[in-house]
């Protein structure tokens, strides 16, 4: 029988939730790394028993943990993230230049083919790669050469939070940074170009259509259509049909086009999901109604998915890495909230149930699917 495993990172530890393909009964293990912030956990597509976890806190800094037995046991691996060369400076909140300083790992993205190769997106924004199972890390410095001096932190820090590997082209990687924008390499990470044409940030930037500086919250891609990208920006939901060379807005009839995560249905490349949030000043659902919005048209036409979700007095947030999809025949959708709930839908979002209600604030959710 097929099984699913959710890797849930929270403000106070990691939790692993497992179920069969019905996704009705769940086993919960944790907290792992109790008391630490777990910004992200992710399993290797090449070896699902291999899981990487980013463990950090303000006192003791960054630790990377690795499990080779599906999360039963863990070992700390390398945590030395040294920027290549002289780190230089970037824009600060007040418009002055500020030194690049490593703070934490936001995203871990294992290689699609090699369990020992894993990418780490960090704050202050940069991309690192390990080819020895996380023991040592080296920066891909070409990314920060893409006008890094003009990048600036968003409210959550200047974080590289999204890494997308293209299964059809091993040389191509997409990343997204708050607040710098989206970037693409076509040569395995040596050189990078900003891919922000069409983004409009008139409320946040002096030049609304600047080449870099946009607060991109999340991007998503379906592996069968690597030329098509979807983006949840600070404001605006965007779509690109040319590998990010240009973007157009697809916010359509959303009640708010502010939000954090965006995801693509596993079997329907034109079906996408967002969770609208009222505004950048009020990080909770509009009208206190927790609604996932689904578009089956790749944007512009959206329907509210509400069955099983609280439709009153709900004031949680759903962070950028806290929405994920499984790959079972009936596609499962999962998201975690800052209120500690993890909701699951086993029917593409038509109906929802909480798996667990009272975890610490959820920072990230990833899914592994097993047959």
């Amino acid at each position: 029988m097929n099984r699913v495993r959710l890797l849930v990172g929270t403000h106070k530890g990691a939790f692993i939730l497992t179920s069969d393909e019905k996704r009705e009964e769940w086993d919960i293990s944790g907290p792992h790394f109790a008391g630490w912030e777990i910004y992200h956990m992710n399993g290797s597509p090449a070896d699902p028993n291999r899981i990487y976890a980013s463990q950090s806190n303000g006192w003791f800094g960054q630790v990377i943990q690795r499990s080779d037995d599906s999360g039963k046991t863990w070992q700390p691996v390398g945590n030395k993230f040294a920027y290549d060369g002289v780190p230089g400076t970037h824009l600060w909140y007040d418009g002055t230049q500020h030194p690049w300083e490593f703070k934490r790992v936001w995203q871990l993205q294992p290689s699609l083919t090699d369990p020992d190769t894993v990418y780490a997106g960090v704050e202050d924004a940069a991309l690192f790669r390990s080819t020895d199972g996380g023991q040592t890390w080296n920066e891909l410095p070409g990314l920060r050469a893409a006008k890094g001096n003009l990048w600036q932190p968003g409210a959550g820090g200047m974080c590289l939070h999204t890494i997308i590997l293209d299964s059809s082209n091993p040389q191509r990687i997409f990343v997204a940074i708050s607040a710098a924008g989206a970037f693409r390499t076509d040569d395995g990470g040596k050189t990078w170009r900003p891919i922000n044409k069409g983004l409009n940030s008139g409320s946040e930037l002096p030049d609304a259509t600047a080449e870099v500086g946009h607060c991109v919250h999340n991007i998503a891609m379906h592996p069968s259509r690597p030329n098509v990208l979807f983006m949840q920006k600070h404001w605006d939901v965007m779509r690109s049909d040319d590998t990010g060379n240009s973007w157009s807005e697809v916010s359509g009839n959303l009640p708010s086009d502010f939000g954090f995560p965006i995801a693509v249905h596993t079997h329907e490349p034109n079906t996408i999901y967002v969770v609208p949030i009222k505004s950048d000043a009020e990080h909770y659902p509009p009208e206190g109604k927790l609604r996932v919005y689904r578009s089956r048209t790749g944007g512009n036409e959206w329907e509210a998915l509400t069955k099983g979700l609280p439709q009153g007095d709900c004031y949680v947030n759903i962070l950028r890495s806290a929405l994920a999809v499984d790959s079972l025949d009936s596609c499962g959708i999962y998201f975690g909230t800052t209120g500690g709930q993890v909701y699951a839908s086993a029917d593409s979002g038509d109906s929802w149930k909480p798996i667990v209600r009272d975890l610490p604030a959820v920072l990230s959710v990833e899914v592994q699917t097993f047959s």
Partner: protein
């Protein structure tokens, strides 16, 4: 034998249940205790002081013999009480919170 008391999170990370004991060579300084600790427990590298600069992390404090050694240099000589193990060298997470 030098006794080092770690905060809870670092005891968990190092997989030790109580104080750790270190044998160090001359000169016996604050820096040499940290060097020996990181050699014996490499998973603690980067959690107490920076990998490269060796600067103490901002929310880490060093206490011993009822004194605050947090601002002392790495060359600061250990006291006899710490060298003989009569008093522990305490690595403490700074108070921050409610």
């Amino acid at each position: 034998m030098i006794r080092v008391a770690l905060p809870q999170h670092l005891r968990t990370l190092a997989q030790v249940s109580k104080e750790v004991e270190l044998q160090i060579e001359e000169p016996m300084t604050l820096g040499s205790v940290l060097d020996a600790l990181e050699i014996q427990y490499p998973m603690l590298r980067g959690t107490i002081r920076d990998h490269i600069t060796k600067q103490r992390r901002p929310f880490i404090r060093f206490f011993a013999c009822g004194e605050d050694w947090s601002l002392e240099s790495p060359d600061f000589p250990l006291t006899d009480a710490v060298i003989t193990g009569r008093e522990p060298f305490r690595i403490v997470g700074a108070m921050a919170g409610g």
